[in-house]
């Protein structure tokens, strides 16, 4: 008898839970979901925002096979807020948008200049959106950016979105700027936000007859030398003050940013040849140790000392090169140090004097100069950053070239 009561009890519990949790089955079944891979947010003429959602057509991928690029569908809607936009889109497509696989959130430059804190807070509040989602500020309209985001060497768009920012570690020309970091910087009282600078390459890019390796490192999105069919180019960095876009960094400045924040593992630079002032040598550099930052408050202004240390190998080679001599390597090292010192100095003064934005998070180091949080908040680091002075030292040690050492 007791056993029967137990069995009936278990059966009742099972029925209760089947009914209770079935609410999730009908709404969250795979047939009722539409997986969004990217969101573009622009300004709108008729409402506050124009939101575009990019979906991949999974059935087309399986039909076409893996050798062709997966097609994507973009739907746009005008809405007053992010949540309203999602809600309206749910109604129009007759499915529920699933944002858990969203890889990119693109904001147009125009919208970012007006401030995007409301949008970022709303997106971060959404449990489906991952903090690792990349944030891109587009030089063109965000929708146009998504429409033309065709991966150059990749079949799957989602994979392209997921891995394109990884090149920041080896090139330093773009950054891995995620929603989590952006939100963290937005609420931070000792640092400012940044995002990936994106654009679309035009098919008829200007051709230049001058050979200038420095031009290679001054590229940025929408003004790069990339030509061919329309494609997204993510070069450079979008700089924010609070929630507003205040400026852009080109590729060499982005590299300086990553070197200062210790977020780069190796990079290539073209430094003036010490033996021939008209030519450049390409050097592949690797940081030896993390950049050392020391901050003092002198007469109420931040005095920031930054020391960088690199080791490198010479990449470019020409006739009559001799990289087996200690003196030659020493001269190249000095030239490299001097060049990098100028580059880093220009970059740091640009963030301080022009952009007035501490994207390097120097404020975190400066906090150690204050005893309490109240003292630090009263000092108002973010406003005083524009008064900063920098003392930069760069030490470079060129070891050798690669396979050829002497020609």
């Amino acid at each position: 008898m007791k056993l029967w009561i137990k069995r009936i009890f278990i059966l009742i519990i099972m029925i209760i839970f089947l009914v209770a949790f079935s609410g999730s089955y009908s709404a969250l079944s795979i047939d009722n979901l539409s997986t969004v891979v990217a969101i573009a947010i622009d300004t709108s003429d008729t409402n506050k925002l124009r939101m575009s959602f990019q979906f991949t057509n999974a059935s087309s991928v399986s039909e076409s096979g893996s050798t062709e690029q997966s097609p994507s569908i973009i739907y746009s809607i005008d809405a007053s807020s992010i949540s309203n936009g999602i809600n309206l889109m749910n109604t129009y497509i007759g499915k529920e948008l699933n944002l858990s696989h969203c890889k990119i959130i693109a904001f147009s430059e125009e919208l970012a200049m007006n401030g995007i804190s409301e949008e970022v807070y709303s997106l971060f509040n959404n449990a489906q959106i991952r903090p690792s989602t990349n944030v891109v500020i587009t030089k063109c309209s965000a929708k146009y950016y998504l429409e033309n985001s065709k991966p150059l060497a990749e079949n799957l768009l989602t994979k392209h979105y997921e891995i394109f920012a990884n090149s920041s570690k080896s090139t330093g020309y773009t950054v891995n700027a995620t929603l989590g970091n952006f939100f963290s910087n937005l609420v931070c009282s000792s640092c400012e936000g940044y995002a990936i600078l994106g654009g679309i390459s035009s098919e008829d890019n200007e051709t230049t007859t001058t050979i200038d390796s420095q031009k290679d490192s001054s590229n940025k999105a929408n003004s790069s030398s990339l030509s061919g069919r329309n494609s997204s180019e993510n070069i450079g960095l979008a700089v924010f003050k609070n929630d507003k876009l205040v400026g852009e960094l080109n590729s060499i400045e982005t590299l300086s940013f990553l070197a200062t924040r210790n977020e780069i593992s190796s990079f290539l630079v073209s430094v003036p040849d010490p033996n021939d002032s008209s030519s450049y040598i390409d050097i592949y550099l690797t940081p030896v140790i993390d950049s050392i930052i020391d901050i003092d408050i002198v007469n109420g202004s931040p005095y920031i000392k930054v020391s960088y240390s690199f080791t490198g190998r010479i990449y470019s080679m020409k006739q009559d090169s001799n990289y087996l001599e200690n003196d030659v390597l020493k001269k190249v090292s000095e030239s490299c140090s001097s060049y990098l010192k100028t580059v880093f100095s220009n970059y740091l003064y640009k963030t301080s004097k022009d952009l007035k934005s501490d994207i390097n998070a120097f404020g975190k180091t400066a906090k150690s100069k204050f005893l309490t949080t109240e003292e630090f908040e009263n000092y108002n680091w973010l406003e005083h950053y524009s008064d900063s002075f920098f003392d930069i030292s760069v030490e470079t040690s060129i070891r050798s070239s690669y396979l050829l050492t002497e020609t």
């Binding site: 209760i16 949790f21 999730s24 969250l28 000792s190 150690s368 204050f370 309490t372 109240e374 003292e375």
Partner: protein, 370 residues
């Protein structure tokens, strides 16, 4: 007294699961709200005070080997006093676990079950703890002993997997919200060590009551280390968590863990481990509560009370009309209860009972001399 005796590691795990359960919801954030960037220093300071307090408790307990605080209350003030103290502890255990249950289930609902009624999520835990309490207490403590190290490993994993975000500069300004807040107001962080209250109920369960001191000291040491790691995850890696309030900050930190594009969304596994840990905590609390009730009412068997007490927990957890109130109860009221009932009341009872025992010993000695 009890037919389920427990070993030293099981006893330690009982005390630590309380701390682990509370840290998984909002405890580290509550600590950071008081002392800011000086929380780690504050925890070391509070830890030293706690060590001295525990030494005092252990010393006082020497005369009451194998007895819990309810037995000691009976010795001190008789059955009526014992019932008053017992009711206070029952209130504490039921209230703290119900509010924690509510908050944890609110978090689960937000993250994974947005369309499921909160009642059913709560009911899942209630049924689990009814079933587990149907078995012997040692079954729960043994499962707890298995799950607790896994929870510890999961916390260490969050810390080390987020090492790219680690910044020791976040420990500055060194005095955080000020000297007074760190060392005076910050004493309120003693409320984080709610697990210590279980120390007063452990002695009757111990296989070797002489090892009570060992249990107490190891528990406190591990609790401090564990709490520092939890706070460090938030303080050293995610500064924004100091400024904004997130449900389950440790879960939020776990969402950042990714190993390339192959291993992502590992927080789901961690949450599964934490759910089992939570079930263990609720189960242990229910058992201790029933045992107190059994003592103060002199009933022979407390097992028929399982469903009644479980439903009481369910009812209390449903009382707060919204998350704001349940969170307020957990972050603001709970620490005061720990300090009030756990530290002040219990230590006072122990001191008075110790003095009474010494006096009665002296009286007996004088009688025999006469």
């Amino acid at each position: 007294m009890t037919n389920s005796k427990i070993s030293v590691p099981e006893a330690i795990s009982i005390i630590l699961i309380v701390l682990a359960a509370h840290t998984l919801v909002s405890l580290p954030k509550s600590l950071l709200n008081i002392t800011g960037s000086a929380t780690i220093i504050n925890l070391l300071y509070v830890g030293i005070i706690l060590f001295f307090l525990i030494l005092l408790i252990v010393k006082l307990y020497k005369n009451f080997a194998g007895q819990d605080i309810i037995d000691i209350s009976n010795f001190l003030g008789g059955p009526i006093f014992q019932r008053i103290v017992g009711m206070l502890f029952i209130f504490y255990f039921i209230f703290s676990s119900s509010i924690l249950l509510r908050n944890f289930c609110e978090c689960l609902k937000t993250v994974y079950y947005p369309m499921t009624s909160l009642f059913f999520i709560l009911l899942t835990f209630i049924i689990a703890l009814c079933i587990s309490n149907g078995f012997s207490f040692s079954v729960t403590t043994k499962i707890n002993l298995i799950i607790l190290p896994i929870i510890f490993v999961s916390i260490l994993f969050i810390f080390f997997a987020n090492n790219q975000n680690l910044s020791f500069e976040n420990m500055t300004p060194i005095l955080g919200n000020g000297l007074f807040n760190t060392f005076v107001t910050g004493l309120g962080n003693l409320g984080a060590f709610g697990g210590i209250i279980f120390l007063y109920f452990i002695p009757p369960y111990l296989k070797e009551p002489k090892k009570f001191k060992k249990v107490a000291m190891i528990s406190v040491g591990l609790a401090i280390i564990y709490l520092i790691i939890c706070v460090a995850i938030i303080l050293l890696t995610f500064t924004f968590l100091l400024k904004v309030d997130e449900i389950m900050p440790l879960y939020s930190a776990a969402r950042y863990i990714e190993f390339g594009s192959f291993f992502q969304r590992l927080e789901s596994i961690l949450l599964l481990i934490w759910i089992i840990g939570m079930a263990c905590y609720f189960s242990i609390t229910l058992h201790i509560t029933m045992n107190i009730f059994k003592k103060i009412t002199n009933i022979r068997d407390s097992k028929p009370l399982i469903v009644s007490f479980a439903l009481l927990m369910l009812s209390i957890s449903l009382l707060p009309p919204n998350y704001a109130i349940s969170k307020y109860l957990e972050t603001t009221i709970y620490p005061y209860l720990v300090i009030g009932i756990g530290f002040i009341l219990s230590t006072s009872i122990l001191i008075l009972a110790y003095l009474k025992k010494r006096k009665s010993k002296e009286f007996i000695e004088n009688e025999t001399m006469d």
